[in-house]
Symmetry: C2
Subunit: 253 residues, 2 copies
Amino acid sequence: MTVETSADMPVNPLILKLEAFHALSEADKELLTRLSTTSRTVGPREDLIREGDPPERVYLILEGFACRYKILPDGSRHIMAYMVPGDLCDLHVFILKTMDHSIGTLSACEVVDLPRAQVMEMIERPAIARALWWSGLVDGATLREWLVNIGARSAEERVAHLLCELLVRLRLVGLATEDRYELPITQNELGDTMGLSTVHVNRVLQRLRAEGLIIFKSQKLVILKVAELMAFSGFNPNYLHLESRRTLYAARG
Amino acid sequence: MTVETSADMPVNPLILKLEAFHALSEADKELLTRLSTTSRTVGPREDLIREGDPPERVYLILEGFACRYKILPDGSRHIMAYMVPGDLCDLHVFILKTMDHSIGTLSACEVVDLPRAQVMEMIERPAIARALWWSGLVDGATLREWLVNIGARSAEERVAHLLCELLVRLRLVGLATEDRYELPITQNELGDTMGLSTVHVNRVLQRLRAEGLIIFKSQKLVILKVAELMAFSGFNPNYLHLESRRTLYAARG
DNA sequence: CGTAAAATTGATCTGTCTCAACGTGGGTGG
DNA sequence: CCACCCACGTTGAGACAGATCAATTTTACG
């Protein structure tokens, strides 16, 4: 158990994200900062909670990538969502008896465990409650967009779409610049996310590289032509519901 | 605008569904009955709300099948969810400026429009609020299961899985018997749901028929071997979170 | 440096798509 | 009430995206 100080963690990604929806008061920010003070370091490929477990707390990711996933009867894994810094898992999950999926880390993560009482404390603040409510709706919309992505787009478009989405989401928490970010994900994990074989993910990435759209090496992604990649993949950020609050995605066209 | 009487509508599917989670008081049921008194008939293939529109009300389906869908840049449609009697669209959607997808009918429907004030009225009742909260979590879990379905299963398993899910969901509202229900959906719509071409859906259905698993003709589905179809498709109803509340799905094995 | 995980390559196979035609059944107007 | 008609379902042939299997190379790291 690590107790992080403000020196270790200059900016709280949850605050950054929620303020993309609307501004929070100093008191609200202090509460969120206090609740995320006690985090723990979790290694890569570790489960935070497993399918079948009773949901007892909510997880907040401060650093690293985690995911929601299911294991199918044949042993294959499907990843249904990425959780990046600032992301909370479902706040309302306490009402359910058991988890219907697992949550695990992809890279090493800094994770905050929020027991029910602390979630309540957050929700009692109207501005925070509203921002979390927005955040939950965006999570749902993202899931729907993923469904369309897998159901209706080619392998190349699918991967490109994911890279565009992560660019926008990571910019929100200061973890992406205009055109690049750290993506601590293997090609195998990408495959389990997109419903593609690892071999095919590799070929798709090579094609995106050959087309001069991206550079992806040593977990570092550079999108060489952001507008082109968005257009190619049919990426329309409307489902992230950032409205006109900030200029978080590059101009298109 | 039709005003339905209790004679026209013997049982309110929303009440049936919510009571699968936990019992409601008479007063709660009266409120729900009152709020669903004024419904309107909507023809097949009509939109209730379109992508880009501001969400002004919530829809409750009393009869018929509706769906959430998106139209892609190339003109193709992807259906992301089915709404069957008793289903409500997202209660919290008011906070968003615009819809990121459309909602439209598949068959002719009886639909209740609930303006914000009426949603508030429901949510003020603790038992109803809890049941609706559960219902919203189940909707999210269903979306995740659909993602896995499309991402990780073969065409035949996919279609079979959907048929199993609808069996359980429709039983909940008294619209399926042990092994059969009305499915007012074309093969083309099934294809847009499963990410398959219409031609392939046709061949998949033929194979399921040939294997003696189903009969599907004139919008009437009979599942000849329920346990086998569930096993074949990898259907595990845990994501519907019916727990031990009622025996809503057949014993397996 | 050695080792295991991850990325890459090549060859082959197959599920699903596309295109194009034909059958069919239920609703409607004459 | 019949005949037409159109949406829907069905069939066949050929093409292709992506899977699978089996190495091999590269990278990260202890």
